[in-house]
């Protein structure tokens, strides 16, 4: 679910179950063709996917792709602007900014992926359970989620990160925790709306057990809004991780996270514009790309309006 595989169901518009049921034999080919058609009609999303693919590949292959070691200092050329040897310029210790941005991508993308994978599965399961088993246990789960939504996201994330200490994992856990409630709400809402539909009732009267009903009958119908939510959550997770690092609560130096580079770059605005600007541009492009894909998926699959503003803008 983390890197929404757009081949699935792309192009199949607004039917009730867009995900499955391509003929089994050439599912891949059909999927690829559908994806091609979808990408042609959603050009901005296609560009965004392209950008994210390049970004992810360079983050994975960072040691090969990056022109320099991100920690290698060169005190002879500090705070330089872009040049042929340093396309993004250098920082206050003469480290190559492009290399640092490429390595920083590992942190941001990993946080986004981990947060969405865990928060998505936990939230979806909790919501599924809360929607399927109404009454006390379900209500309890949802009240807890409501409480979490009542505290501003960034404040909750900062408190959790501060409680757990500073570093990559505390920040990632904080971002994961605050991403859960949105998934739970969404999953519960779609379970409640499909539960009473005829095809579910008939499956039940045919003797299907609870597990089968929950995971094989109801869940697939809740999947597309959850995937759209996953994209919004991934973008918010990347944003929040950067915000935590910016405040000094995320990955610690010398590790090159984007948020921290921005915070450092801010103190050198007088000497070099590029230091703060470059990580900012890449961070913004990443969030924008994920959002764009999410909106395109939402247009394709329909569904309720998403609150992509939640948890942002602090």
């Amino acid at each position: 679910m983390t890197s929404p595989d757009e081949t699935e169901g792309g192009g199949v518009s607004s039917t009730k179950q867009p995900l499955m049921y391509a003929p089994r034999a050439n599912k891949f080919k059909v999927g690829l063709r559908n994806f091609g058609q979808w990408a042609a009609s959603e050009k901005a999303a296609a560009v965004a996917i392209g950008f994210l693919v390049i970004l992810s590949l360079s983050a994975i292959a960072a040691p090969i792709v990056a022109p320099y070691d991100p920690l290698q200092q060169d005190l002879g050329s500090i705070l330089n602007g872009p040049s042929w040897s340093h396309p993004f310029g250098t920082d206050e210790l003469g480290r190559d900014l492009l290399s640092r941005v490429i390595f920083g991508g590992r942190i941001s993308l990993a946080t986004g992926a981990i947060a969405v994978a865990i928060a998505g599965s936990v939230g979806a399961l909790a919501g599924l359970a809360a929607g399927y088993v109404e009454g006390f246990p379900g209500a309890l789960i949802m009240r807890f989620m409501d409480f979490m939504l009542a505290v501003p996201g960034i404040l909750l994330a900062i408190t959790i990160a501060a409680v757990l200490g500073r570093g990559f994992w505390p920040a990632t856990i904080a971002v994961t925790v605050i991403s859960v409630p949105a998934f739970a709400r969404l999953a519960r809402a779609s379970v409640l709306s499909t539960k009473e539909e005829e095809f579910v009732q008939s499956t039940r009267s045919a003797g299907a057990g609870h597990t089968y009903l929950m995971f094989r009958t109801i869940f697939p119908n809740a999947l597309s809004p959850l995937i759209v939510q996953a994209s919004v959550a991934a973008a918010t997770a990347v944003l929040l991780e950067a915000a935590l690092s910016f405040l000094g609560l995320g990955t610690q130096p010398p590790s090159p996270s984007w948020g921290m580079s921005l915070a450092l770059g801010k103190s050198y605005l007088n000497q070099s514009v590029w230091y703060a600007l470059m990580p900012g541009v890449v961070l913004t492009a990443t969030v924008l790309s994920i959002d764009t894909i999410g909106r395109a998926l939402q247009r394709t699959w329909g569904g309720s309006a998403l609150d992509s503003a939640a948890g942002r803008g602090a």
Binding site: V163, A243, L247, K266
Partner: protein, 315 residues
């Protein structure tokens, strides 16, 4: 109406009770000894035990919680572990700054967001609509600290028009200075808010414009401008009110990131520095105040909503 009001106020009780337990537990599960914040690292075991007893940290969590809540009701949020000042005083010092910033943010956000939403709803699929959609996507995706840094870079460093770090100057004392010191953070947050509002106004306008009474109005020959800006906007402004209320309540709680970028002395910076200093008395008190403010603002928004929309009251 009274019944509705009473019901909504009663609803606050469990929410706030739950929130207070949540905040208390979260803070008290912090690894690390709060006593060390007071005594310093070199304290002897006896010294620490004495301070722990004086501050009541040797009691059970249960007792400590009810002691805290009891004091909260009498308006005592405890003293800061770092500065020894009462938390209420620290919050009261910072609140005017955050209030001024929030008002300025909402003015900027509304004056960009509403016209943009109206224009793009009345000219769907035109270039204006597309430009507005791009604008709001951007405003939601660009992190506030990036907007803030670019703002400082352009207006502070390059043009030299504004200070690179803001201070709180009350608007009634020195309007010009207040504008200079507030515009940076207010623009940063307002840029975000304007995108949220533009998108929301557009969506609710499109919904209203598709309703029967608008069609009837159009058939009767009501001018398009009057139809959009008077009849439809009146109906569409109701749901918009909720979004504005939520944003207002959120920013009244302080914006940790933006206030840090501009060194603006609001509630957000107070909470952030308390968290970094492990001053858990202040964190606990300030976060509780933030949550109370947020819930109250949402309550007021809901009440306003029901006053403007009689359908809700009976329901």
């Amino acid at each position: 109406m009274l019944r509705y009001l009473g019901f909504r106020i009663l609803q606050l009780v469990p929410i706030l009770a739950l929130a207070s337990v949540g905040i208390f537990l979260m803070i008290h599960l912090v690894p690390g000894d709060p006593v060390l914040t007071v005594t310093g690292l070199e304290a002897s075991a006896e010294q620490m035990a004495r301070v722990r007893h004086e501050m009541g940290f040797d009691r059970s969590l249960f007792v400590q919680y009810f002691d805290w809540v009891g004091r909260v009701f009498s308006g005592d949020l405890g003293n800061s572990l770092v500065s020894q000042k009462p938390t209420t005083e620290l919050i009261a010092d910072r609140m005017p700054a955050t209030f001024q910033l929030t008002i300025a943010t909402m003015i900027i956000g509304l004056s960009i967001g509403i016209p943009m939403g109206l224009l793009s709803a009345s000219r769907q699929r035109s270039w204006i609509d597309k430009a507005a959609a791009t604008y709001s996507s951007f405003s939601l995706a660009v992190p506030t600290f990036v907007v803030g840094i670019v703002f400082i870079l352009v207006f502070g460093v390059k043009l030299g028009w504004l200070p690179t770090a803001s201070n709180y100057i009350p608007v009634w004392e020195d309007p010009g200075g207040a504008l200079k010191s507030t515009i940076g953070p207010a623009f940063t947050l307002g840029f975000f808010v304007s995108g949220v509002i533009a998108r929301f106004v557009r969506a609710s306008m499109i919904e209203v414009l598709g309703l029967d009474y608008i069609r009837t109005g159009r058939a009767k020959g009501v001018g398009e401008a009057k139809l959009v800006y008077k009849h439809a906007f009146r109906a569409a402004s109701l749901p918009t009110l909720t979004v504005v209320g939520i944003q207002f309540g959120t920013f009244l709680g302080g914006s940790l990131v933006t206030e840090s970028v501009f060194n603006y002395p609001g509630i957000g910076r107070l909470i952030l520095s308390a968290i970094l200093n492990r001053d858990f008395v202040v964190v606990q008190g300030a976060v509780l105040v933030v949550v109370i403010i947020f819930t109250l603002v949402t309550l007021v928004t809901d009440i306003l909503y029901s006053l403007l929309n009689p359908k809700i009251r009976s329901g």
